[in-house]
Amino acid sequence: MILQRFLTRLLTMAVTLFGVAVVVFVVIRIAPGDPIAMMLPPGASQADIDRLRALYGLDKSIVEQFFIWLAGVLHGDFGTSISLRQDVLGLVMNRLPATLELSIVALLIAVAVGGVLAVIGARERGTAVEAGIDVANGAALSIPDFLWGLAFILVFGVLWPVFEISGRVSPRLELPFVTQFYLFESIFRLRFDLTKDLLSHMFMPALALALPLAAIIAQLLKQSLKELLSLDYVVLARVKGFSETQVILREALKNAALPTLTLVGVQFTFLIGGTVIVERLFSYEGLGNMAIDAVINRDLPLIQGIVLVFALLFVLINLAVDMLYAVLNPRLRHG
């Protein structure tokens, strides 16, 4: 049953990615802004324009360009960036780990903060503490991530400068890494001096990305917990002498987590989307930051490559969540 579900999802994944590729390819070519017009020097003649257009393969029809690009993609060649003059796939794969690390750290913060608030809120239900948590959740949700970022820069970057404002790692450090997963590799190599430096750069952008998701987790999980806390098996646990915290953590949390898991999966893709602006704000060298430059420079091959990788990431996350849900949910597992 799960295998069949997995294969179906793989098929829809391929169709989705093809659709994204077509839409992105067409949209960025009909959208305003010609990359050749942007690089024209003063005094360029029509012959110069034609020469540059041919150099970047933009002199062919859109259909022709699409099939040339698609054939390349199927062979692992995503083309060459117009502005960076490098292989697109190499550029994207080089940046992807930075964005993934940031997103995963943000997710961990969101789950930790949201989970703790949910447990506290459920335990203190009906009191001023729960009301306070609801107010905090409302604020975290209504303020966009980049505004949180600006606030953190002011507080933790300027007024109390404890975290680094920009970049991913201090330029003065020598990095022994062989992969682009700096944070994970620093932990693996037990180079905690580098881990500390990386987290010092990552903390503010990750927190800015995490807060809205933390609020969603806190609200949903708290609500699920509150509903479960009135059920018989929970009441029985109380009768057995468990404290309220023990009741929540040992009895209610596992069952309450399932609906939250699905939501976290969906929201995680939004969180990755949010890295575009937040990475820019903190000059974090991830895929999102590069995406903005690519759009500004109308770097068509790079935009296509980035969007396709983002799309692949999104469908993979959705697939993973779907499979995890199927595994964890007994009704689906045995159905």
């Binding site: 305003p32 024209l40 020097p41 005094g43 360029a44 110069d48 404890v162 975290f163 903190f282 590069m290």
Partner: protein, 509 residues
């Protein structure tokens, strides 16, 4: 809410953990270290090909690592560099250049006349994708004799040597480039410039190390870190927190606030970049009275004072005071009453205004949209009703190249070599893809100047073109921009009129 001992310890440990991660780890200014929060990313290390080659905002980084054929002083004057002498023969059929001796590349290999010739030939080769190839192809058949180079002129261009200080005018290492190829050069670029590339993380930072053998003398700061901080608010935070010692291109309001703080200073001098409104020779803009009224009714000083906090210089032509063809006698008066009269002569009034569209960017240049809003307000008072259309700069380039801009369109124009060809010339010469006004009288006035060998006559000719344009209101020049630079008081910064922020010009105060 109650909290037991275990929870208290847990919260305490968490707080300590967060504080430990964020312990101040920030590079403070040291005598040999300089950190600059730069406003743009560096896309590519090849200063002669692709879009980076014509991007004025990154030329300061290129000029730190590479030398141009001919360098410019902070006041835009030209001086000896890798070329110590240059010029034409009497009949302008040959160029002659003398190459500096005793210069080495960053890898220690000797710099020679061959590097100059190879760089010029490569720049003129259309296969390399040099966007300025149309200039470099004008001289070929170079011959080397010791440290002297001669070349044959294919087509005389009086600005040829000035281009050697401008976009793509960089000397690259022949032997090294041929050995490592384009990709190898991108990974490890070398030049003859004042700084050597130590470490480069794209979109993040660039570490430079002083070139001890620099022909112009070793720079004052041993190590320079350039952080690419593209968000203006983050750059303000960088300088305010002490994480960086120098930054640039921040809002004028923030500039005023920051230079009032202890430990910070700054400069906000004019640079070779102007704001202007193109007029397109379509619709109502064909009416001279409408154009003249549109120019006369704009109080440029008020725009500079109110919107740019006084940072900027109102201009009457596309030539700024530093440019070779600046003529202070050309003045365009601010006279809203006269503007009304002119419009009345064409049948327009405040009750029956002339209508057209003005296009502008929003946030591309400081207060661009606000400036256009203010101009539209000034126009409204005399009988011009302009509809503002906001677009991205990429759209502007596309429309301008296709000559499809609205009757009026805001733009900025940089010209760090200060020659009239690369300002008034390319902006106003009809056949140029950058020109918007296509009037035949301007084309006829400019045509003989492209190849005028007599420099005095050439400059006089360009001044006459400026007068013709001003008299007929073919364009609305607005202001010369000022560049805000904020720095720690421990650093002395010399601003460059080109707008390039050069670490080599910075010294400990």
């Amino acid at each position: 809410m109650t909290m037991n001992r275990r929870e208290l310890l847990g919260y305490g440990a968490s707080a300590l953990g967060v504080a430990a991660i964020g312990m101040p780890n920030i590079a403070r200014a040291q005598a040999s270290e300089l950190t600059i929060a730069y406003n743009v990313n560096l896309p590519s290390w090849d200063p002669t090909t692709g879009p980076s080659a014509v991007n004025p905002t990154i030329q300061g980084i290129y000029q730190s690592v590479f030398d141009q054929f001919i360098p410019q002083a902070p006041d835009l004057s030209f001086g000896p560099g890798l070329l110590t002498q240059w010029g034409w023969n009497q009949d302008r059929t040959k160029v002659m250049m003398t190459v500096r001796e005793g210069v080495t590349w960053h890898d220690g290999s000797p710099f020679t006349a061959e590097d100059i010739v190879w760089s010029l030939q490569r720049a003129g080769d259309e296969k390399t994708g040099n966007p300025i190839q149309f200039v470099w192809k004008n001289v070929n058949n170079f011959k080397i004799d010791g440290n002297t180079i001669t070349g044959d002129v294919v087509q005389f261009d009086p600005v040829y040597f000035k281009w050697m200080s401008f976009l793509t005018g960089y000397v690259l290492p022949k032997a090294y480039y041929e050995k490592v190829g384009a990709e190898g050069f991108e990974a490890k670029p070398i030049g003859t410039g004042p700084y050597m590339v130590d470490k480069f993380e794209r979109n993040a930072f660039l570490r430079l190390k002083a070139n001890p053998n620099y022909w112009g003398g070793k720079p004052a700061f041993e190590n320079v870190t350039i952080k690419f901080v593209t968000d203006a608010a983050s750059r303000v935070a960088e300088i305010e927190s002490g994480s960086s010692q120098v930054t640039l291109e921040i809002p004028y309001e923030e500039y005023d606030r920051l230079i009032g703080k202890d430990g910070l200073a700054g400069s906000c001098d004019t640079v070779s970049d102007i704001g202007m409104v193109f007029f397109n020779d379509i619709d109502v803009m064909k009416d001279a009275n409408v154009r003249k009224a549109a120019v006369m009714s704009v109080d440029k000083k008020l725009l500079v004072d109110r919107l740019l906090r006084g940072y900027g210089l109102p201009i009457d032509t596309l030539e700024t005071p530093e440019y070779a063809a600046f003529d202070p006698s050309i003045k365009v008066e601010y006279n809203p009453d006269k503007a009304k009269e002119l419009l009345a002569a064409s049948g327009y009034s405040t009750d029956k205004p002339v209508k057209f569209t003005i296009q502008t960017t929003k946030g591309f240049k400081p207060k661009d949209y606000e400036m256009i809003q203010a101009i539209v307000g000034m126009w409204r008072k005399v009988g011009i009703e302009a509809n503002i259309e906001v677009y991205e700069i990429a759209k502007h380039y596309e429309l301008r190249a296709a000559d499809h801009l609205a009757p009026a369109a805001f733009y900025n124009w940089g010209n760090s070599i200060g020659d009239p060809t690369t300002s008034t010339g390319f902006a106003m010469y009809g056949p140029s893809p950058h020109s918007v006004w296509d009037g035949q009288d301007v084309i006829d006035a400019i045509n003989p100047l492209w190849a005028e060998p007599d420099e005095a006559k050439r400059i006089a000719g360009w001044k006459a073109v400026s007068k013709l344009i001003a008299d007929n209101a073919y364009v609305l020049p607005l202001l010369q921009y000022a560049q805000p630079i904020v720095h720690a008081k421990g650093v002395k910064v010399v601003p460059h009129k080109s707008g390039a922020l050069l670490p080599a010009l910075m010294t400990p105060a």
